[in-house]
């Protein structure tokens, strides 16, 4: 028995004692998602796992998070060649919109169970709110809000851009403030019937604040966009967004995405409309239709086109 031998024994002792700690310290489940088919969940383990344990459906307990007492019927589990990826196939199609909880007994080295949730990526959900507010439920073309301001400022591209950007800025700020107010003041004290007043009050406050700040900080910018600030408050969308986020009980990030999408959608609508209207000034339009009537008809055609986005699900 020499130093070399002693070191070896010490090392193996440390490893033996430390291994369970190491294994439990690192995540057993490296990845989880819904599989390609509607009946599948795919689990990726961090290291090779015991085939007998993993391929036995009796070791699994899977349920939708909101219905923990209803176990979903698992037909089979297949472990891939690399012994790390398992595909769970269920008897019935899964509702991928809901969060599912999976528990696998005796899968860890120590014999403990592993429990984890499978759901659609949250970022995907946030982006889907954004795309919805931007295209599918565009506030101007699908929800018919904010039309007065829309027709007023869509005559030229510059006005359109200015109005769109100002509006998006005010929208995001006031939506966030409305969210804070709703979560921390209105809900706990049951002041829901004051929704309308408080939200519009917050909008006025935001407009006033942006007005003052812009005047002092960047006069050039103020000269370009200041005149649109007053128009923002006459825009139906500015109060529709807080009402929606209160109704749907969105959290902070969801509200932010909604506001961004609403503002972006408005900007998009304005830009499209102004591009057409600039061209129409050179077109030969009958006198009775000149000005607002033909603008309405064009808007109707845009609305028809936007109907094509209905039912779009990217995430």
């Amino acid at each position: 028995m020499n130093m070399h031998g002693m070191r070896r024994i010490l090392l193996s002792l440390v490893l033996l004692l430390g291994l369970p700690v190491l294994v439990q310290a690192q995540e057993l489940i490296a990845g989880k998602s819904f599989g390609k088919g509607p009946n599948e969940i795919v689990v990726t383990f961090a290291g090779p796992v015991d085939r007998a344990v993993v391929e036995d459906p009796a070791n699994y307990r899977v349920y939708e998070e909101q219905d923990p007492d209803i176990k979903l019927a698992l037909e089979s589990v297949v472990l891939a060649e690399d012994q790390k990826t398992a595909t769970l196939t269920f008897a019935e199609p899964l509702n991928a919109r809901l969060s599912h909880v999976v528990t696998i007994d005796r899968v860890a080295e120590s014999g403990a169970a592993a429990t984890f949730k499978v759901m659609k990526p949250y970022l995907g959900y946030l982006l889907s709110i954004l795309i919805s507010a931007l295209l599918i439920n565009n506030f101007v073309f699908t929800k018919y809000l904010g039309l007065c301001v829309f027709f007023g400022t869509s005559k030229r591209k510059d006005t359109a851009k200015g109005m769109g950007l100002t509006f998006t800025m005010v929208m995001v700020v006031s939506a966030i403030m409305s969210w804070f107010f709703y979560q921390f003041i209105m809900k706990p004290y049951g002041l829901n019937f004051l929704q309308i007043v408080i939200f519009i009050g917050l909008v006025s406050l935001t407009v006033q604040a942006v007005d003052t700040v812009l005047r002092k900080v960047n006069p050039a910018l103020f000269n370009a966009f200041g005149v649109y600030l007053v128009l923002v408050i006459a825009n139906c969308v500015i109060i529709a967004v807080p009402l929606i986020l209160a109704d749907n009980e969105y959290n902070f990030w969801e509200s932010f995405m909604l506001a961004l999408g609403a503002g972006g959608g408005f900007l998009l609508a304005l830009y499209l409309m102004s591009s057409v209207r600039e061209r129409m000034e050179l077109a030969n339009i009958p006198t009775t239709f000149k000005g607002v009537p033909i603008a309405f008809i064009v808007a109707g055609q845009f609305a028809l086109a936007f109907l094509g986005f209905s039912g779009l699900t990217l995430f």
Partner: protein, 204 residues
């Protein structure tokens, strides 16, 4: 600056000359979105009438104590208060109507027509004149909405006020939301045409 129009003239003015939807081009959102049936137009018209009259009278009553720097927030506050009141009253006493008009009632607060009218008229005129002007504007709005609703309901569903008039559905298109744009545009063009013919006849 007191107006020299009689009360009746104020009302007629609101319906024809300064019709909020077709002439002043204000409050387009409901005109496009909600004018699918005559009944809807009628109900929303009543709601707007109520809010307009109450707000006009309130502002005319207090016009001397409202500080000029805060007049816009004050208008907004008044309108928001009346809108909340009518929202609660409708939910309590007319639930079917309320279910249909849902979000639009809450949006009345952002209708440009009411704020504009308070700014242009109620803050300068007497309570009496404001009252009649409010009625005129409200009636004008209701008339516009009902006219649109008439066309859309008849051509889209073949019914009027829920009664099956035509017995079939000519063009479902008209009831779908975006047809509102087309209808409003066409109606405006029609009003323009009427005005041109009228002017031409007058000159001749």
């Amino acid at each position: 600056m007191a107006t020299d129009k009689t009360n009746l003239q104020l009302v007629v003015n609101g319906i024809l000359n300064e019709n909020p939807i077709f002439r002043l081009v204000l409050s387009m959102c409901p005109a496009v979105g909600i004018s699918t049936t005559v009944m809807n137009g009628f109900m929303l018209g009543i709601a707007v009438l109520f809010v307009q009259v109450c707000s006009s009278c309130t502002i005319a009553l207090f016009k001397n104590v409202i500080h000029p720097r805060i007049r816009i927030p004050t208008y907004t506050l008044t309108i928001a208060t009346w809108v909340t009141v009518i929202d609660m009253v409708l939910a309590a006493y007319l639930p079917e109507a309320y279910a249909k008009m849902g979000i639009f009632i809450k949006l009345i607060v952002a209708f440009a027509i009411i704020t504009m009218r308070l700014e242009m008229f109620a803050s300068k005129e007497s309570v009496n004149a404001s009252f009649w002007d409010g009625i005129g504007m409200g009636l004008g709005f209701m008339f516009g909405m009902m006219a649109l609703g008439f066309v859309r309901e008849l051509l889209g569903m073949g019914t009027l006020l829920g009664y099956d008039v035509l017995g079939f559905k000519p063009l479902l298109f008209f009831v779908l939301p975006f047809a509102g744009f087309f209808c409003v545009g066409l109606m405006m063009a029609f009003f323009n045409y009427v005005e041109i013919v009228y002017k031409r006849a007058k000159r001749a």
